[in-house]
């Protein structure tokens, strides 16, 4: 059995940055009767599998990927989650 790493990246609009998609989704939910919905932010989800790398190294590598490509730090924040999966 080998252990693979699964990384999940959540990219979201930065606080204070206009998110017209989030606003439109919020209005849609209100129109459907979900009156309890407050602020909505729409982002992007990226999932990937990594091989031949430790969990700690994977976190560092994926953060580098975010800085260079997956997120634009002018307008977006990101969060990385890494876990091991048996297969």
């Amino acid at each position: 059995m080998t252990v693979a790493i699964r990384a999940r990246v959540f990219v979201t609009p930065k606080r204070g940055i206009l998110d017209p998609q989030g606003k439109a989704v919020q209005q849609g939910l209100h129109a459907l009767g979900f009156a309890e919905v407050g602020d909505v932010r729409v982002g992007r989800y990226v999932e990937m599998r990594l091989r031949d790398v430790t969990r700690d190294a994977a976190t560092e590598r994926v953060r580098a990927m975010c800085d260079r490509l997956l997120a634009n730090k002018v307008i977006e924040d990101y969060r990385v989650e890494v876990d091991e999966e048996a297969r």
């Binding site: 940055i17 206009l18 017209p20 998609q21 439109a24 992007r44 490509l69 997956l70 634009n72 002018v74 307008i75």
Partner: protein, 245 residues
Amino acid sequence: MRWGVVVFPGSNDDRDTLRVAERGLGDDAVALWHKDRDLRGCDAVVLPGGFSYGDYLRCGALARFSPIMDAVGAHARAGGVVIGICNGFQILCEAGLLPGALLANRSLKFVCEIVNVRVETTDTVFTYGCRQGEVLSVPIKHGEGCWVADETTLADIEAHNQVVFRYADRSGRVAPEVNPNGSLNNIAGVCNAGRNVVGMMPHPEHAAETLIGCDDGLKLFRSVQAWVGRGTRVPRREPTVVPGP
């Protein structure tokens, strides 16, 4: 002079841009494939409009890693002329060659119309031949043209006159109701600190022949021609000195 127009997979305004250079200006112009690694002696490079890489991930995010972009970056850093129009503007922002980023239009609608932009500075390669405050009529066609930046960046480019164009009415009045996409301070185009890299959302290459309605855009291309012909560079701005406490 010689123009180079970069063709990315998904570019669609490259032919119009080449036509302006060749037939509008009578210059030499070549298409540069995105996998090329050199600029083939071009004086000015244009990143054209379109949907490079299908706008996947973010507009311009993938195009900035095309092999040609190393040479474009080097050309820009050496003071060479680099122009980004629409998707080209998005690519230059993603590449860090211009400040800010382009978001989805505030309306979430694709906009396609003729707008007016006011020339805010003539001290750039693309507006060198314009008059300060001149109003140009040019088309826009984009879904992600809302220019944004953090407060510090915005204050910095305003203070250093790096806003090149603002959306305005025909008389040159800048107001929220003539802002087609929600961009901060009605910004339609910006330049870098060296004033040799200019990006804009409107399309001057589609407004370069009276036969199709308007040739205001031709002035911008002629500006580059005049600036390159002059053989000297627009003076670079002095680095900002931040006063101590």
